[in-house]
């Protein structure tokens, strides 16, 4: 069956009142899940999985998938407004999105996030429609050495983009790596830096760290300036992105879409990595990297597009190969298995109704989400008019609830508090938090892929030069490092 015919079949399946309703319901739940810190798509899908037992396979999958990408839309909201990431893939949106909100441009940030999500989500489904099986076959060959080179490139981009003191930046990256090393070694299963504590053996929960670093730190640094009455220092300016915003955003959106789609596709990737890598990329290629972290709209447009495209990308290997690349897609696979359906390379041929129905629903769902999220922009932006003395207890409450609900582990609350205090101190000493968080996210993948590569290579590190894709990416890293040294010498 060709793609157009397939898509028509899909729309035939999806355009029933029941399936449209489930798609809308999923979009709505997804948006809420994204908005609420702590409750991520994984938790929501796990919670709602039993409901899908009673639905048809198409209906169930349509709803679960729309929750997944719907969460990517909603996730930016609290990141921008309150500096608390709604879920892990929206952490980077705090960097510039919240700064924009402080400058009275929350509307523009929220608008660009929603539109970027829509553009990327739709582009992703279009690519999926025409190339899903072919792409999946290529992506699966992306192995540990390629993953390693990609992560190194991400870290080098992060270092390269550091504004201000390079030493401070390198320190933050190193601290990020060290923090990521806490817990059970991904390769030989031994405990590291746990001091015999069961809590530490699970590692440091990323969500607790970022909610502490951003949400709690934000409250601490704001309450010391009691004179201030609202978050917004300037007047709230236009609710919609301006022409200049558009001009600055369309390229990051497209780049974010491409990068995100790719990172969703490859094993081990997903929306979280995609958003971080997109931020690193945008800052790297920007003519004014110093604007990043101070309210650059590119820093919102790129990552918010990337995380949505990554969802479309990550659904492809599940449906066309039956192999999930990240926990959320593993759950989608689980949902299908419970329905008695085993996706694999034959899935599209055997169940065209299901495959194309899901694809078609993603077109519809993205339209629902845009229509759902754009009108909310105005409403959300008004939140910032709330006096800060009322707002900050709410921010703290959301931080606590969000952190706890992720794992239901009280220890995570202490982690959150600790990193809130650390963030406050680092903020005072003018350390940039972005490199720390990026290193924390990329480190486990970087370490695992490095050690896997070395384990699978009879010739040691030569494996990185034997594989063309890897060699290319590492050469790019070397060039960037050389440029960095030259720049450091000049100044």
């Amino acid at each position: 069956m060709d793609a157009v015919g397939g898509l028509l079949t899909g729309f035939g399946v999806i355009l029933t009142p029941e399936n449209l309703y489930l798609c809308f319901l999923g979009s709505l739940i997804g948006t809420l899940v994204g908005v609420l810190p702590g409750v991520g798509p994984l938790a929501a899908l796990a919670l709602l999985l039993p409901i899908t037992f009673t639905l048809t396979p198409v209906g169930g999958m349509v709803m679960l998938a729309s929750i997944f990408y719907g969460a990517m839309y909603g996730g930016s909201t609290t990141s921008i407004l309150l500096n608390i990431p709604g879920e892990a893939a929206s952490v980077v949106t705090c960097f510039d999105g919240h700064q924009m909100a402080k400058q009275g441009r929350a509307g523009a940030a929220l608008g660009i996030a929603a539109i970027g999500s829509f553009v990327a989500g739709t582009l992703g489904v279009i690519v999926m429609t025409f190339f899903a099986p072919a792409i999946a076959a290529v992506a699966i060959r992306f192995g540990p050495p390629e993953n390693f080179a990609l992560m190194v490139l991400g870290v080098i981009c992060t270092l390269y983009m550091i504004g201000g003191s390079l030493v401070k930046g390198v320190l933050m990256v190193a601290l990020g790596f060290l923090t990521a090393a806490i817990g059970i070694d991904v390769v030989n299963g031994r405990e590291r830096f746990t001091f015999g504590s069961i809590d530490l053996s699970a590692g440091i929960e990323l969500l607790a760290v970022v909610i502490g670093l951003f949400g709690v730190t934000e409250v601490l640094s704001n309450v010391e300036r009691i004179v201030k009455s609202t978050v917004v220092t300037d007047r709230i300016r236009g609710l919609w992105p301006t022409l200049a915003d558009w001009r600055a955003s369309w390229r990051p959106m497209l780049r974010g879409s491409g990068l995100g789609f790719f990172l969703g596709l490859v094993p081990g990737g997903g929306p979280v990595t995609a958003s971080f890598m997109s931020y690193a990329l945008e800052k790297r290629i920007s003519a004014h990297p110093e604007r990043f972290g101070k309210g650059a709209i590119e820093g919102v447009a790129g990552p918010e597009s990337a995380n949505n495209a990554a969802v479309a990308g990550s659904i492809i290997p599940v449906l066309s190969l039956g192999i999930p690349g990240n926990p959320v897609t593993a759950l989608l696979l689980g949902a299908l298995v419970i329905q008695g359906i085993q996706p694999g390379p034959l899935f599209i041929a055997q169940r065209p109704d299901l495959f194309w129905g899901i694809v078609a629903s993603m077109y519809v769902g993205n339209v629902f989400l845009l229509l759902l999220n754009l009108p909310l922009v105005g409403l959300w932006a008004q939140l910032l008019r709330i006096p800060y003395r009322v707002l900050f207890p709410i921010v703290l409450l959301l931080s606590v609830v969000g952190t706890y609900s992720a794992n239901k582990n009280v220890f995570d609350l202490w982690v959150m508090l600790g990193f809130g205090l650390l963030g406050y101190v680092l903020h005072k000493l003018e350390y940039d938090l972005a490199p720390f968080v990026i290193a924390l996210v990329l480190a486990p993948l970087l370490e695992q892929s490095l050690r896997q590569s070395l384990a699978m290579s009879p010739d040691g590190a030569m494996i990185f030069l034997q594989r063309p894709g890897t060699a290319l990416m590492l050469t790019a890293c070397a060039v960037l490092v050389a440029l960095m040294f030259r720049r450091a010498k000049k100044s």
Partner: protein, 336 residues
Amino acid sequence: MKSAIALALLSALLATPAAAQSGDPKAELAKLKPKDFPTGPIEYTVVYPAGGGMDVTARLLAKYVEKWSGDKIVVNNRTGGAGMVGHAYLATQAKPDGYTVGVVANLLWGDAMLRAQGRWAYTDLEPIAYLNSDPLVWVGPTDGPYKGMSVKQIVQIAKDKPNTVRVATVPGSMWEYILDQVEANSGAKFLRVPFQGGGAGINALAGGNVDIAQGFFSEFRGLADAGKVAPLGVAAPERLSFLKDTPTMNEALGGNEYQWIIIRFAVVPKGTPADRKAYLGAAINAAMRDPELVAEYLKAGVYFDPKLTDPARMEANLKAYAEAEREFYQKTGRLK
């Protein structure tokens, strides 16, 4: 009608002595129900992430326990540290009041013996019901130099040319132990590529990044149906009914010790009142006699170990398996 008889026969075969108890399971369960219990939802704790084999097992179980007991069941994933966090929670923090049931696997024993550092023991969790068993399967490629080879042939290559055959493994667990046995008995030497789980290894096999992967049937069934990967050997005592043409590892390598199986069962924290414990176990056993649930489990590619399907012998036989595992750790120097 015919299929109903077949299903009835099937369930009778699978849980013979339990099914022999006559009468309506609901009425029997009601007789066992303690006074004032449960007054709220019962939590089924799963220590692995949502969507995996363990999680699907627990969620299916919850659905049928609710059907037979009428109690409200909530499945909760307490994850982290490859199960360590959830196991420690169940053994040391969960209240023994009957409102927490752990849906666990025998990986619990390895965690308790090798990683708990004396902070808790596997005996802190008392088994109340057996669910199913899922053996590790060696899976090979369908193209490239190892195409069409048997386990024996590949092991021979790994012996003749050590450190050339790449095998996906999960460190510190049965994925690695079976490799230890194969290497020790044959003199072969593999390149061990570490992954976080069996599924990730199967991905790497399909992508040509490893030569052998080890996983569960549900993880590779789709790829195997499409001819992208091929099952080579099953680490179970007997061939699986749905993989009749695949030899056991013992057949393939001429041994008797290549048995690495995920055994899934339900536990309660030590100290849970006896009446509640009995009721919770009976509720699960009632669900396990439901042919629909049995059919759902069979679809996922599991089997039922006759040594454990009898509730009367379940606890003792599980303990025997656990102690056999301890012996393996002692023999291989993992445990002093």
